[in-house]
Subunit: 273 residues, 2 copies
Amino acid sequence: MLGDLDGNRARAAQAIATAASAGAQLVVLPELVSTGYALADVAQAQELGEPADGPTVSGWRALSDAHGIVVIGGFCELDADGTPRNSAAVVCPGAPVTVYRKTHLWDRERLTFTAGDEAPPVLDTPVGRVGVAICYDALFPEVMRGLAIAGAELIAVPMNSPLEGPPTVPLPVEIVSALAAAYANRVIVAQADRCGPERGIDWAGASVICDPDGRLAAGPLPDRARTGLLTACLCLADARDKRLGPRNDVLADRRLDLYATQTPTIETKENVT
Amino acid sequence: MLGDLDGNRARAAQAIATAASAGAQLVVLPELVSTGYALADVAQAQELGEPADGPTVSGWRALSDAHGIVVIGGFCELDADGTPRNSAAVVCPGAPVTVYRKTHLWDRERLTFTAGDEAPPVLDTPVGRVGVAICYDALFPEVMRGLAIAGAELIAVPMNSPLEGPPTVPLPVEIVSALAAAYANRVIVAQADRCGPERGIDWAGASVICDPDGRLAAGPLPDRARTGLLTACLCLADARDKRLGPRNDVLADRRLDLYATQTPTIETKENVT
C-alpha cells in the first residue's frame, strides 16, 4: 500500500516467513516493496526512502539470517547524497548486502529516481549464481543475455508492472518476455510483480517462475489483484548447461563475428509505404 | 513433402496466389520450402538443391512480378561451389533477388549445410524495411535486436521447427520468442512454420504474425498438422516508432555504456549448490 512503510514491511516479512516455511531457499519480492510504486515525486521518495542499511533491508537481513535463505527485493533507496534510487537488495545469510540500482527507468520513475550507473550484478549465493534485474531492465535482451553470460543461473526480477491498455493475450507481455529470456539463455527467471490499488493503477499480474526450457514452473497467480506465494523446486546447476538438443548451445552458437558488424544492407529502392 | 520438388513448388505457388488474392502485399513461406526439412545428408541436399536462380526462386520471381507482392521463403541453395546452404530469398517485384544464408544452424543441419558468413539483412522493399532470419537464427536476441537497429520494420522468419519433447504451454516457445522479440524491438514478426510428416518429425506449429505491441495479430493455426493461410493488416511504418508509453523508447533507452562492460561481480562465497 502506497506510503504504508510499516505495514508493507510487515507484509513482506510475513511473506518471507511463509516462503521459508514452505521450504524456499531464495525469495524474490516485488520492486519498491516498502514504499509502494506510485511515488509522486522526488520529495515523496525522499520522505519515504531510506539508506541501504535502513529498516527495510535490515529487516530482510534479520530474516535471511534467521531462516538461512536468500532474500531479494526492491526498495526506495536514498544514496549517500539523499538521491532516490530504485534499488534491489540481495541479502544472503551472514554475508554483506549487495545493492543494485535500476539502470533502465520506466515512465515517471524518471521524474523521481536517478538511474544506476553499474550493470546488473551476478552474485555467488549459497543456492547458486543469481543475477538481478528490476522490472523494465528485464525487457532489454542485452540485460538478460549479459547476466547469463556473466554466469547467472537464476535471474531475480523484482517488478511493478503497470498494465498499459488491454492485457495481451494469451499471456501478459511481461510473462512472455520472461519465458523468452529464460529459454534464449537457459536460465531460471523468478519474477515478482505487485498487486493492490495505487493511484488507480492496475497491474499486469506478471509474477512467474520460468524454468530454463522456457516453461512456467509456477504462476501466474489466478487473481492478479491479490497477493500470493509462488514456489518452484528447480536446480540452479541445471542452468549452467547451455546445450539445446544434441548439437546446439545457446551461448556457444552465438555468431559474435557477425553481430558487431551488422549494418543495414538497404537496397536503393524507394520506400513507398 | 520431403523430396517432392515439383509438388512442393506447386503448393507454395498456390499459397502465394491465395495470399495475393486475399490482398497480401508480402508473403512469408517456411524454411526449405522446395525440398522439405529432414534432408539426410550433404549428398541428398546436393541432389535436391538448386542455385539461387533455379526453378524455386525463379517461380517466386514470376509470382512476385505477376501479383506485385514481396515473396520471402526458404530453399535449399547450392552455392557456386555446389555447397548446400539453408537460404532464404527475398523477392520484390522487378528488383534483384536477395539471398540470405542461415548463420545459426540447428542440430543435424550442421551435418548438411554450411553456415552463412553474412549477418541477416534488412532490405528496403515496396512495403517497408524487411529483415530476414531463418528459424534458429531468431532465437538469438542479438539477431532480432540487430535487425531492428538496422531498421527492420518487419522481420520475416521462414521456419521449420521440430517439436522437441512435450509442447510448452500455454504457447510453443517459438511463438513466445517471436512475441517477445516483437515487443522488445517494436517490430512486426511474420513467422511461417512447417507442417506435414517427415521422417516422423512433429512440428511446433509456430506460424504467427506478431504486432509491435507483442500481440498475436494472426495465428497460430488451429491444427498444427495442416497447412493454412494467416493474414494480418499491419502498417510497417508504425514499427518505426520505438516509443513505449510517454517517456520511453525501447532502442533509445538501451544503456550502451553498461552492456559492453558487464562482467560477473561474483562474491567470494562458496557456491554450495
